[in-house]
Symmetry: C2
Subunit: 130 residues, 2 copies
């Protein structure tokens, strides 16, 4: 399988797949003409990584998850720990974003949004004291 087909099957840009090879996530074989020759195992790995990335795991976490996936002796606790840490970070990020959202909503709601210059958004950003 050439990179184009792999890309469309995995739902990843070809560039990204080349990058994943660069950083050693996958190691596809090569045809005589120099083209990457992807086997099913490569395809599976890429699908795995694509899903893990879609869940927000970092590349390094993906690397570890891949390794655990390939290790039939793994302890599920190791996998769970990674996922659980990641979940915590996501929850924290959501909290941060919700705080921003709430502030922004208030500011946007308080601004007339017409052709006059008075703007509570700017005033709030510029405020001397809190």
């Amino acid at each position: 399988m050439n990179i184009g087909e792999v890309a469309s099957r995995a739902g990843l840009p070809a560039k990204t797949i080349r990058y994943y090879e660069d950083i050693g996530l996958i190691r596809p074989a090569r045809d005589a003409n120099g083209y990457r020759a992807f086997r099913d195992t490569d395809m599976h790995k890429l699908t795995f990584v694509a899903r893990a990335r879609a869940l927000g795991f970092s590349i390094d976490e993906c690397r570890t998850l891949l390794a655990l996936w390939e290790d039939r002796e793994r302890a599920s606790a190791d996998v769970r720990a990674i996922a659980s840490d990641h979940l915590t970070r996501i929850e924290e990020k959501i909290v941060d974003l919700e705080a921003m959202r709430d502030t922004l909503r208030t500011l946007v709601a308080s601004c007339a949004g017409d052709d006059r210059p008075d703007c509570p958004i700017l005033s709030s950003l510029a405020e001397q004291e809190r």
Copy 2:
């Protein structure tokens, strides 16, 4: 005022402030010894930017907001539009993160997390069909 004091007052690392000068967000004067000499206006701008950044605005948005802030003829509609677009993007990000969170919660909950290798998290990432 030297950069150290400005940094602690604005709650920004000195490195960041130098970077902001680099990209033209601020233009502090210089003392004879080459040290940056921050005036009150610089300080105000930095505080403004720090607050805008804390609300998640990009550097480019901060640049625009700064310019609007300094423009007494601005229309509040222009400010509101930027804030409103940003709010929308944040809301979208929250939705994305919540989807990840929900999936991750389900996966984490379904994994025994002991020393056995069976792991629904890995199985889910590896699943052939959806």
